[in-house]
Symmetry: C2
């Protein structure tokens, strides 16, 4: 096992079934598949999520990323006993239904190869050792490979094999697929199907290689590749299964999918498993070469930064600039695959710094959805581009307006799609951060500028001039416990930042790309009056601030609500909101996540002097219950910048372990992508203090936890790979 | 939390209840108490084991260490809701029976203080934060201290308190106590009772300090210290409970126990909790000053060496040389508190090297039991001293002859008490190792020599002269899968070693302590003829060895049995014996634990040349299933010496994690003391290659795993503390 690179489960922990499925997800940026088992398991949540394949099924409030056919199934029987993970540690010599005598699962983060070893006794008494391996080729979006080694440890077992693609899948019972065409011959089977509303066609084909002759058998509408053979004592056999996938998003003509599937299968069979694995692993090494972070002196943190980066890398589209990463990556059904601010402010930055091509793809996804954003602005009576709080393939607002049914039968109104408008600024932040780190002027000029400017146009139309100043009413800031409040300091201040940046950008464009400046001026109606209004907003925007206490006010009235001493509510795995109950907590000062502190992370000393920043932190930190997984990383980042070393490392460890520890019990729904990206930022921007100075040069101000020996990493800066290593004094 | 010194459970894991109770045991070398809860829990295994208090209860096959009265109980009710660990994470605002909203338990190995924080909601809706602390004073064998802090987080709860000593205890239903006298007045309660066969008297008294007035109330024969008080919102209260203990082993006159209990309670109350804690922690620091091992570059191993040393230190008698450490330390009922070879060959060496006074106590326990050993020899028709395989207070053989009832209703004959005679040599090994490392000639002359020589006398009478050589029939070696075999190479070769050492010892005594040499010669009848026979045995003992293959043979006929490729049986948490079934496995070459390899650990290159040692290892390692927790550490030690670095670190990690991981599910019965001591030896003797050369000087030959940065530790050598630090090349 590669040390500090390997996630392990030993022995089998059925009580952590769905949690582990999420952790052991594999993927290649085109699709990802949860770590469910080849033979299945009662209660499993098996998903394969393919980027961009959204569908709006009947009876579901909003479109969702579709659970695609399951390419994993390889069902084995040993002397007639179906291999299943049952009767763990039962020592009966002829166990009814068989028995699992041993189990170990490992995911090598360095190679993205998932391995499972099982020792299994059949009813006959025969014992087999099974080693399952699988990976989604990183060198080829459209190919997945599986290997099963079977060793006859005791007895001379007859092995029967059924391998297939299972199209009988759903999203929590919601049916997305129609017109399923199943076929097969010899060692090959295939499924071609179509989403029933959005009309995406998806095809998968599989090829099984086994010691015995393989026939296709149709059972219950599924095409099985079936074979059997007998092993002598101590003999072993190898099965290989290759699966290919294409969709109508890949091929303009869906009728070409069948041919593409089989051509790629032919190539895979010709190449063979070990060659495929070598190419796959070389590709992974290339990604880790830039994206790995080494921490000496803290093994849990070392593992956490690798685990979180792995989950970003497997979900980041590599050859597709029309899709983006949902809040739960591609690893579960949570949040329906929708794209939130999580992407631009949490997941994007590690890619901007270490895999700029992938970062660019994510930003292009937003560019391609400007039409949807403009539509939302228009529908709400505003100008410019207003990005949806939750985004899918269409670019329309897809936040559900109502929650799922609550225990008491009611539904709760969800306001984020209406009021969490800071998403517009968050996307602009991601664009400008990308541009500054990469120096990708071409992207900015052609695509990014339009995003920044047209969202600025939106804000220019959104602000309200009253009380002799500009205000913004009916907002939800990052702290979603307080809904539809007026003058969220986060939103108001970020709008000021946004408009300032937009004006600077216009100047830059005029001097560096005057044709495009003109093009955008015309297209977006960036008249002198409009720019003058932006300047006026910048100067007269209301920024709630307590002059006496020298702190920013999250929103006017915040401190009039009941004070709850959040630190008293320790230890807990629940949010304080859950403990107090919804109706009371919204009337208290309990904060869900970094809000003013988020503003401090994004703007740093541009926001205020260090004494004010410290006042802010000391005020808001003890009021924050981190009810959102986005919170701890931002607190770690800001605490490190403020020299609050103990809080910084505590929050950093919290952020990095959210998925691994699953203390809130919701990892079954998927990886917390924002916590993954936040962990990286807490380390690089927070603990190491890496930033760009006014001239765009890299500076650092490391504040390593005292027990750390060193931190090392690479970042791309304007096309150059720069290596950093920070050490603590011995 | 002290980094890499703290065992943590967060949140509450009821499925690991009994496992965690064992891990979180506290103790002070006089007694140890499992980490059960002040309020109790269904299915708990609550024990307080006091060294030396054995009793043979009716209906039990053999005497056992007695579960003493439970000093932990502090029962709280919050607004009338009994505080219990139920309804974890239930968010109902008025939960029936209350609800646990949060839980964290930590054991600071550096200070031996166990802390538990709980957030609890009563049916009334009031929320309290509870912090429980406890420690068994290391500076005073007879005193234990508890603290409970109660914070009114929400509401104004009425708190009711019942504190008591619970004498209604048993060992798995076996009743050991009689004549229970319970009393109390005001804040004090006491229990005085007596074991019903062995007649030990034990007394405990407790003093409660609380905000309200305290009364003694008798309920169901138990004396409760009862009080109640009300907390205002955000207010906190502190409870303190001190418990003292004396037995008739401490006080010659049992009628003085009551007075002693209360005098010590008076002192404790006068001193107060924080002063007691300071003194306790200073004492711990003193022990860690010599016993800690620092590993840089491997945090799991770092923690494991501290965890294992902690459990040795809390079970090692510090002021009593008439008791010893049982196989499960004092942390559970497993093996009934009996003392095996585990003590001298596994647990003793880390104490010999780092706490020689404690090591001496353990060896004196054997000295005081020479009468029992002589009785066993005589009863079996031999001369000298034949130590029992399982030893208690009496020194008689206390190995049960029959197992507990098996699932099929039968009992299995246990032969170890008859045939595992190598214990005699193991004790001698412990004596001589102690002497060589400490230079404690006074101990050797007065006590140790008699052990070594009288057990040599036993072997002189035990060997059988036949086939023109000496043989030993009907043995069980360390590999207990093969019972009553003839000419166990481990036993035969260790007897040769033993007799050689005995002869050398005689020479040493003659030149360094001639009076004692004469005394022992007379007392043990060490006639010239007897010594000549020892010399003859040394020369003509049968050492099974395959000249062709150049390997030691575990016993003649071993290689004629069925070969089982043990590595094929991976991954597994069961022994291969359990997988094959008892009746088959005993006819195979599957080995339970280091046997020839154990010989290699004890004798090193004195046993054979390096090629032979390598042949041995390569032969026996793949036949060993480590069905005993004693096995991995010895394999780690020997593998490191043979330069097999990968096996060494793998086995080392296995050894160090046996209790922490509980992969075999039996940690509920207590800590594997031998694995703890073996872990230390694998590190110091194996990985670091520390040993005494022929002149008694320290030499080292470090073979650090490649990922380790350094290992540092202290050892005592002839009264001098020597510091070692080994580093890997950078």
């Amino acid at each position: 096992m590669r040390r500090l690179w390997t996630l392990e489960e030993f022995p089998f922990h059925p009580e952590r079934l769905n949690h582990c499925e999420t952790l052991f997800t594999i993927g290649n940026g085109y699709l990802a598949t949860r770590g469910t088992f080849e033979e299945g398991y009662t209660g499993e949540l098996s998903t394969t999520m393919v980027h961009g394949i959204f569908n709006h099924a009947k009876g579901v409030l909003v479109p969702e990323l579709v659970n695609s056919p399951n390419w994993l199934p390889i069902h084995l029987t040993i002397d007639g006993t179906p291999f299943r993970l049952i009767n763990q540690n039962v020592t009966t010599l002829n166990p009814t239904g068989g028995a699992v005598l041993g189990y170990r699962r490992t995911l090598d983060l360095y190679t993205g190869v998932l391995t499972r070893e099982v020792l299994f006794r059949a009813e006959s008494g025969s014992i087999v050792r099974l080693v399952f391996e699988r990976f989604a080729c990183l060198h080829d979006d459209h190919l997945m490979a599986q290997h099963v080694q079977i060793v006859a440890v005791d007895g001379t077992p007859v092995i029967e094999v059924d391998s297939f693609i299972d199209h009988r899948v759903s999203n929590n019972e919601a049916q997305h697929w129609t017109d399923v065409a199943v076929g097969g011959a010899g060692p090959r089977t295939q499924v071609i199907t179509r989403t029933n509303q959005s009309g995406y066609t998806l095809g998968m084909a599989a090829h099984l290689i086994a010691p015995g002759a393989i026939n296709t058998v149709m059972e219950n509408g599924v095409a099985l590749s079936r074979t059997h053979f007998t092993l002598q004592l101590q003999e072993s056999a190898d099965l290989y299964k290759y699966t290919t996938i294409f969709t109508s998003r890949d091929l303009a003509d869906p009728t070409q999918i069948g041919g593409a599937l089989h051509q790629k299968l032919d190539e895979a069979v010709a190449e063979g498993f070990s060659h495929l694995q070598s190419r796959h692993e070389r590709e992974w090494a290339h990604y880790w070469d830039t994206s790995d972070v080494q921490i000496e002196g803290d093994e849990a943190s070392q593992f956490a930064v690798r685990f979180t980066m792995y989950h970003i890398l497997i979900s980041a589209p590599r050859h597709d600039d029309d899709v983006s990463i949902g809040a739960k990556t591609l690893s579960g059904l949570g949040y329906k695959g929708h794209v939130f601010w999580d992407t631009e402010l949490f997941i994007l930055p590690p890619l901007t710094l270490t895999q700029p091509k992938l970062a660019r793809n994510l930003l292009m996804y937003r560019y391609h959805r400007l039409a949807g954003a403009r539509h939302k602005a228009q529908a709400n009576g505003y100008e410019g581009a207003m990005f949806p709080w939750e985004s899918t393939d269409t670019g329309e607002e897809t936040t559900p307006q109502w929650s799922d049914v609550q225990p008491d039968g009611s539904r709760i109104r969800i306001w984020t799609g209406d009021s969490e408008q800071h998403i517009c600024t968050d996307v602009a932040y991601g664009v400008l951060q990308y541009w500054r780190w990469t120096g990708d002027d071409e992207f900015l000029i052609k695509y990014g500028a339009e995003i920044v400017l047209d969202t600025a146009v939106f804000w220019g139309s959104r602000v309200e001039e009253k009380n002799d100043r500009y205000e913004i009413s009916q907002q939800i800031g990052p702290d979603e416990y307080h809904e539809n409040i007026d003058n969220s300091v986060f939103t108001n201040r970020m709008v000021v930042w946004h408009l300032s940046e937009a004006l600077k950008l216009m100047e830059w464009l005029k001097s560096h790309a005057s044709t495009d400046a003109k093009r955008l001026t015309d297209a977006l109606h960036l008249t002198p009056e409009r720019l003058a209004k932006w300047q006026d907003i910048i100067q007269r925007m209301y920024i709630p601030f307590d002059l006496e206490k020298q702190i920013h006010i999250q929103f006017p009235g915040f401190f009039d609500m009941e004070f709850i001493p959040v630190p008293h509510y320790e230890p807990r795995t629940l949010s304080v909101q859950a403990i107090l109950g919804h109706s009371r907590s919204i009337q208290t000062q309990v904060i869900k996540q970094a809000d003013v502190v988020m503003l401090m992370a994004l703007l740093g000393e541009e926001l205020a002097s260090m004494p004010v920043l410290l006042n802010n932190f000391n005020t808001y930190f003890p009021r924050t219950d981190h009810g959102s997984s986005l919170s701890p990383a931002i607190h770690a980042w800001v605490a490190a910048r403020l020299g609050l070393a103990d809080i910084a490392i505590d929050m950093f460890e919290h952020a990095g372990s959210i998925d691994l520890n699953d203390n809130k019990g919701n990892v079954r729904d998927g990886i917390h992508g924002a916590a993954c990206g936040g962990t990286y930022q807490a380390l690089v921007f927070g603990i190491c203090g890496l930033k760009l100075d006014a001239n765009g040069e890299l500076t650092a101000d490391p504040q390593l936890p005292s027990h750390w020996k060193s931190v090392s990493f690479n970042v791309n800066h304007r096309g150059q790979k720069k290596h950093f290593r920070f050490t603590n004094p011995a």
